[in-house]
Each structure stands twice: as C-alpha cells, then as structure tokens.
Symmetry: C2
C-alpha cells in the first residue's frame, strides 16, 4: 500500500474529523448505481436529509459533487438570464454567489456588509422596497470565511412578502446550528457533506420546496448545465420513491460517498439533531473560554458567532504560517488560515461534527498554548 | 453498522469491480484539501494520469465530479456561445454532447451514425469541408451505450487540418484500450474513474493541451460555471507543481476519492498500460468465445468492438428484466441493460479494469448458461 497519509485532527473550516464508522461505510464494496439495493439506500438518504434539514420537501437529495456545485445547482436551475437577484455579501461565499449570478446572466443587486457582521434584515427590506423587480434573495446562513451566523427567518419572511425566492447557503450550518427549512420558509438550500455532518468531502445536500420547483418548471430558457439540471436529476433521485423500483439513468452516482453520507446521517439521527446543535454550542463555549484564558481574542461578536467556526485574532508578533505549520507538523492538528479580509489576521478553528468533542478541545488548547510560548520565548 | 450492501460482481457498463486495495485507500483518514501531504498526492495523481492518457499536458487532473461533469468541463470552457460544433453521434453519449452544445448556446452541426457503428472519418471530412465555420469537433472514442470504438486519430487529424479543436469522450476507454492523447493530437479529453481504472465513481480525469488552453484564455464570454471554470481550477491543481507549496483554494476536493484514484493509477502503472490493454483484449476474446459457444450473438462487428463492453443480443423468448434480475439475485452478478436503440434488445457485459479477469468470465458464462437453461425449460 502506497502513500499512507498522516492521521490529522481536522479543526479547520472543513473537511472536519470523520468518525471511523463513516470511513468504514465508505469502503464497503461498490454496487451499481441502479442496483435495487442502492436505490433503496438513496431513499433512506433522502429521508435522513429531510430530518437534518427539517423539511418535508420531496426534492431533498445530495448533488454528486462538492458544495460549490450545490450552490451552482441552485442558481443554474432557479435563476434565468435577466432575473434580478439580491445578493447579500458578508464574506467569501456571498461573493461566490455573486459570481454565479453574473456568469449565468442574472442581474445582481449587491448588498454588502462588513466582514465579521451578519446580514441585516432591515437593509434587505430597504433593498426589496427600492426595487420591485428583484426575484431572488441569496444569502449565506453560516459564512465559513468569517464565522458569522445570519438569521435566515426574517430574511426569508421579507423575501416572501416581496414575492421573491430565497437561495440559502448553509454549507457549514447543517447539523451544527439550528436550521428549520420548512419552519423558516427557505426555498432552495444547499450544504456540504464535509462540515458538521462529518462525512467525506464531495457531496452537496440540497433541498427545494414547491415554490422553487414551480420556478424551475416555468423556465423559458434551458438550464445551461446538463449535469446539474434538476428536472433530469429528479428522475434519478425521485422516481418511484419507496418502491425500490427502476429509475431513469442520469449520471453514475458516487456510490461509496453515498454510503458514507448515509452512515453520517444515521449517526446524526441517533444523536438527535437538537443534541448535535447543543453539543456544538457546548464545545464552542469550552473552546472560547480556553482561548480567552490564553489571552486570545475571538473576532466575531458572541451574539452572531458560529459555534462550529471560531475566528481567532492572530496575536501581535506571531507568524501566521509558521504557527499553523507547527501545529500541523508537531501535533498533526489542522486549523484554518484566514480568508479574504481576514487573511493573515485570523485563524479559523473549526468544531464541526465529530471534531466537536472534548478531546479535540484539549488537544487544540494545549497545542496552541505550547506553540505560543515557544514562539514568544 | 447499518445496511451493509451485497457483494456484487460488477460486469455492467460501470461502475466496475474495485480492487480491495483501492477500497482500503479510499477509507484512509481524511486530511485537509490544502494539507501539504494532500497537495503532494495531487501532484502524483497528475503524473500518473499523464501516464494513463499518454500525454505531457500539464493540465491533466481529475474533475471533482462524475464523467458527465468532465464532459461539461470541456464544453463549458472550450466552447463559447455562437461557436459551431460538429457533434458526431453514434450512441447515448454523443447525444449528451449535443445537449451540452445546445444548452450552452453553441451551434451544433450534427453527424449521426447508426447505433452499433463507428464514427466515419470520411463523413467528418465531408462535414468539415462543407462548413468552414466549424470550430470544434466532438466525438466519443468508446461509446458505452453501444460498445463501439471509433478511431480518434483520423478524426483528430482532420480536425486539425480544418483548424478545429477536438473534444473526446473516453470515459470507458481510459486504461482499457489504446489511447494516445499526444500521439493522436487530441485537444480536450475526459474520462471517468469508475470504468477501466477500477476506481470508485465520482471523479472525471481530464486533460487539455496548449491549443485547448489557448482557446480558453481567448474567451470573450465568462465561463458560465464557477465550479467548472478551468482558469480557477488550474490555480488549485497546477500552482507550484512539485514544490508541495500552497495553492489557491477553489473548492474542497473529494480527498478520499483522490486517495482511491491514486491507488488505482498506481496499480495501472504497476501492471503497465499496454499490459492492461492486452488483458482487456484477451479477456474479451475468452468471453466472446464463451458467449458464442452458448449460442449468443455479439452485436458489434469485431473490427470496431470495445473489448471492455460487450453488446450481446437478447435471445428470442428470454425476458430481459427477469434474466438480469436472476443474475443479480442468485449470483450477485450485475450485467447492464441496453440503452436507447438497444433497450430491451441487448445486454451490456462489461470487462472493465479489475472486472476483466479469469474468475469473472467463468462466473459470467456459468451464470448465463444456467439461467438460460432454466428460463427455457
């Protein structure tokens, strides 16, 4: 066997630590993507994803590619050229939404917020009142680049009042913080497998409600992607649900990754969704207290802080890259670099999924303490 | 552990049997997608893919999604709206190329061939002579829906003479039959991980030469996909090659699937590319003789037959679905149904990668013989 990778503790912005059960599931023998046993597993994954998203949406599934493709699935299907989209930007992933809109021929209306702050519903309301042509409101629930949580419900309420659809990024949110797709009335939502679900990277759970599907069915332009066209993907994921019957071939599903996602969702269900949120919150409290005891400063205000992604200000005089390198090489501990406005200014310490546990906090705090002391001596 | 899938022998059109070494590699502990160890592994994967494709193209890598996304990567980057594309269709996957062209605003010139026949270079030449505006020639090397091999070299020669780029589908070809990307002058080529490479489904190896890259760099319209935009993907896969240095973050790579791809490519290299082609040819001969001895007819003429995918005419009076169900349930053997023009008329028996071995042929011939006898009695 060649090139066995190091065993790391993953406390960056994702991928996060993966439970050995999930890795074992991943390595089960591959079966055909149209095998009745696999079709039955897809049905189970849909049911479990609905649980995780808190939705009854039939069109809830995993896109066969990373979160970026989940984002693109939303924009490429829901938006037509010429559609006006309000894009709320408070970090890297809001900017990426804007990239999607402009590349696909949408007309963006950009609402920018300072990095480290949440999307302000009052500003969203102003923008919607100022422009009645806006058809879609796009925003990030859990901004992975800043560690900020924006509150989806008031934004979704406003969008509906103004007859707009919402596209919501919760790549880092799903399983880690409260999310209530149906209760909050979110229309199109995408996530990633490799964050708080503790699954391998490469899949993007998505869910679409009837309003979103109606918009897709009313399209006048073809979806500019065959691979991501939901009207085709639906035939593969939804046909004859629960019957284990034959489905239309679309593409070859990443069978083994679906095994892993299933196992991670079973584990989430066993723990209980609310318990998982609670665990992330509790581990965050503990980490935050420990970091503050070391004299470190958390950048994001505690009222809008994501428990699963902690932005820590790099102390004066500490070399960012050298510090992270030491953590990686000496302790096999990965923490994340800052992105965008926070590059070189902050570390991103993730507590996602299986990584949000007591032993990781001890390792992380201990390694940081020792490394800071060494670098300062 | 929940829901352990059956252990199948995969002799359909893919996914194919996966060597246990590849499954073990898949289950190695996940590391970060920017970890120096992972970056070094990506470099190894690029070198091994160049070996498999027979190319020196620096831009040789794996798209983080199935073969359909590899196809889309080629069209979405190389073709601009208004570009005229000669699409050669002799099966399902040529039709899918046409879908890509039309959805992305290209102008297709369609050249259709009967299912079960190869792309005829003489017809390609006629079409290119008849329309000097054609900018791209798209065709399938190994048509998975019909089991037909088209000869890429004369088509590529003609394309170059007429100042056209080629986009070539060899999803089922790579590793199973002769392929010489540089020697044949192919410009943009895509494949899949789950066919003759015996890797898990979910990745699409691709390679682009300088002519293809020049076309991408000369674009006047933005690539309508952020996820598949090669100018961005390149920054992640190519920056500072060989240095193990830092790369630009684009998306979170499917780390574990890359472990598996690496292992399958190491195995291909160890066997030797030409030896792998030879093994597929030899196993095909043996299977074909065995099937003919059972009175079964191979549909595709032996001169253009893909050894790794055998179209077998369903004998009169045999119920297609019941027959395949029996193979699956009694022998855990998957063979493929016919697609498109061959639906209900043919079976597709794959001998791809690790599935192309003596024990599989014995199982397949034995199970078919017994099942035919039972159904006829």
């Amino acid at each position: 066997m060649s090139d066995y990778p190091a065993v790391r503790t993953l406390m960056g912005p994702g991928p996060s630590d993966i439970h050995p059960r999930v890795l074992q599931a991943l390595a089960r023998p591959t079966i055909g993507h149209l095998d009745p046993q696999f079709v039955a597993l897809m049905d189970k994954v849909k049911v479990l994803l609905r649980y995780a998203f808190k939705t009854e949406n039939p069109l809830t599934m995993a896109v066969s590619a990373p979160g970026s493709a989940g984002m693109e699935t939303c924009f490429t299907n829901l938006m037509e050229p010429g559609d006006k989209v309000l894009v709320c930007i408070n970090g890297v992933f809001g900017k990426r939404m804007l990239e999607n809109v402009t590349r696909l021929g949408g007309i963006p209306v950009v609402l920018e917020f300072p990095w480290g702050e949440a999307v302000d519903p009052a500003k969203v309301e102003q923008a919607l009142k100022a422009d009645s042509e806006i058809a879609i409101v796009a925003f990030v629930h859990a901004e992975t680049s800043t560690g900020v949580c924006s509150d989806p419900k008031p934004i979704a309420d406003l969008a509906r009042q103004h007859d707009c659809l919402t596209i919501v990024d919760t790549v880092t949110g799903l399983g880690g913080i409260e999310l209530d797709v149906d209760g909050w009335g979110l229309d199109a939502v995408y996530s990633g497998s490799q964050k708080c679900l503790s699954c391998v990277p490469g899949l993007s759970p998505v869910t679409f409600n009837d309003r979103a599907i109606a918009k897709i069915k009313a399209r006048t332009h073809p979806v500019p992607s065959w691979f991501l066209d939901l009207t085709l993907v639906m035939d593969y994921w939804l046909d004859s649900e629960g019957t284990g019957g034959k489905r239309a071939y679309h593409h070859t599903a990443p069978v083994n990754s679906i095994y892993a996602l299933h196992e991670s969702l079973v584990m989430l269900k066993n723990e209980g969704l609310e318990n998982s949120w609670q665990r992330h919150a509790a581990m965050h409290q503990k980490l935050a207290q420990g970091l503050e005891a070391l004299g470190l400063e958390l950048i994001v205000d505690s009222s809008i802080r994501l428990p699963q992604l902690n932005l820590v200000k790099i102390p004066e005089g500490i070399d960012d890259a050298a510090f992270r390198k030491q953590l990686l090489e000496k302790y096999n501990l990965e923490i994340g670099a800052g992105l965008g406005a926070f590059a070189g200014k902050a570390w991103r310490i993730g507590l996602m999924g299986y990584a949000a546990r007591e032993e990781n906090i001890q390792l992380c705090l201990g390694a940081i303490k020792e490394t800071l002391a060494e670098m300062r001596s």
